[in-house]
Symmetry: C2
Subunit: 240 residues, 2 copies
Amino acid sequence: PTMILSFANNKGGTGKTTTAVNLATALAQLGRKVLLVDLDPQGSTTVSLGFQKSKLLYTVYDALAQSKRIASNLDLAGAEVELSSIPGREFVLREALAVARHKYDAILIDCPPNIGILTVNAIVACDLMIVPVQSEFLSMDGLPTLLKFMRIVKSRAKTDFDYRILLTLFDKRTGLSKKVVQQLRTSFGDHILKIVIPRSIRMAEAPSKGIPGIIYSPRNSASEEYRRLTKELLEGSLAD
Amino acid sequence: PTMILSFANNKGGTGKTTTAVNLATALAQLGRKVLLVDLDPQGSTTVSLGFQKSKLLYTVYDALAQSKRIASNLDLAGAEVELSSIPGREFVLREALAVARHKYDAILIDCPPNIGILTVNAIVACDLMIVPVQSEFLSMDGLPTLLKFMRIVKSRAKTDFDYRILLTLFDKRTGLSKKVVQQLRTSFGDHILKIVIPRSIRMAEAPSKGIPGIIYSPRNSASEEYRRLTKELLEGSLAD
Ligand SMILES: Nc1ncnc2c1ncn2[C@@H]1O[C@H](COP(=O)(O)OP(=O)(O)OP(=O)(O)O)[C@@H](O)[C@H]1O
Ligand SMILES: Nc1ncnc2c1ncn2[C@@H]1O[C@H](COP(=O)(O)OP(=O)(O)OP(=O)(O)O)[C@@H](O)[C@H]1O
Ligand SMILES: [Mg+2]
Ligand SMILES: [Mg+2]
């Protein structure tokens, strides 16, 4: 069956896009058929894969508009306001994906850095939420509120809820990263993935080439960890 | 006269909060009377100054609600949707600040990582926009669209528009940061502030202590640059 993963965190710059792009690529390299959805109007996922936003004929907005609930002349940035006044607005993405779901082994959804209606749609549509958290204080601080919000959304939409926290941008040179990781493991236990993604400059260079990091620089430490994480997800939740 | 500065960028994690907090502190250390507004529902500015979000009696939401345009039982996260359907919604913050403006030398507004109605309010209310941009590709990529959007908002609200780009999280060990800075200087010329804020671990540690970085660790390289930037702003636009 198809596994739908969302990458969400209202804190900005925690590695949502980088994680979605590299996991999708690693799954494809293992022979899985993957759909990667860029639900962020900024379009970082789109740009990271070498596409030019201005040249796109269709975007996920058109898929959302198919649901006959919204007019389709706006762009994704406009969807936020347009969706907010529509009944059943949180189910629009789930309905749009239901049509395509059987064609893929996995569907990965990159979210914008907020908890607006687009992120709500991703929470409702997915089977598993992955919350990338930068190994720094401000990123850790907002986590309890975010998880509470996710739980409310899922219960209102009457769907099961499961999440994993992924620690990213881990800098082994500093005590700060280690402290944050320890603190999070104590408060969130098994919900924290054992694998931690290190900061590696090659990963930050990859988007300028329009190539996923694990292809641009397969041997760097972050690429290795993203491949290990993909295998772990396949053995665990994706395997059911 | 009072100078109103906004810190905005829809790309996440570019240093908006860190810049607002440290500039406000440096201005206060130079004897200026400063109002720092946390317009981000995440409350990173509030937390960086050691306040606990759950213990706040009032937030900026209450000031916005004074404008009689919106009901005041929601929190700032709710303002986004509530404001979106109100006529004159982009002027609410400017109106709320007009009452207090004369008491301060400077008002600094930290924005959430999106271009929703709260950021629109900050753009309309301010005299100068500071756009913190991380010295990395994805942060640079979204800049033209962001600036276009800001220009539209300002012209619709019939107010003057001026902006400066501040390069943050500059890592002198890598070629990527240098390349991004060079590219931005070529495309944006004088709109790029000469001063660049380096990445410094002390800066990232400060929020966990609830103290601004320039007080927590006055001698680190980022603190030095924030103090220099404050002096430059005082000699330039703030001085009129
Ligand atoms: N492992 C890594 N090592 C080094 N740099 C990284 C790594 N992961 C991400 N980055 C860089 O850090 C920045 C933030 O990452 P990214 O854009 O993926 O985060 P995001 O959560 O999607 O941001 P936003 O909140 O704007 O959507 C980017 O410039 C990215 O290239
Ligand atoms: N000069 C610096 N050196 C090292 N770390 C920094 C520096 N400036 C900011 N940081 C850290 O980088 C992260 C992102 O910074 P910050 O939260 O200020 O960005 P932001 O743009 O306000 O994020 P958001 O988009 O979530 O509002 C934080 O963990 C912060 O502590
Ligand atoms: Mg992103
Ligand atoms: Mg912030």
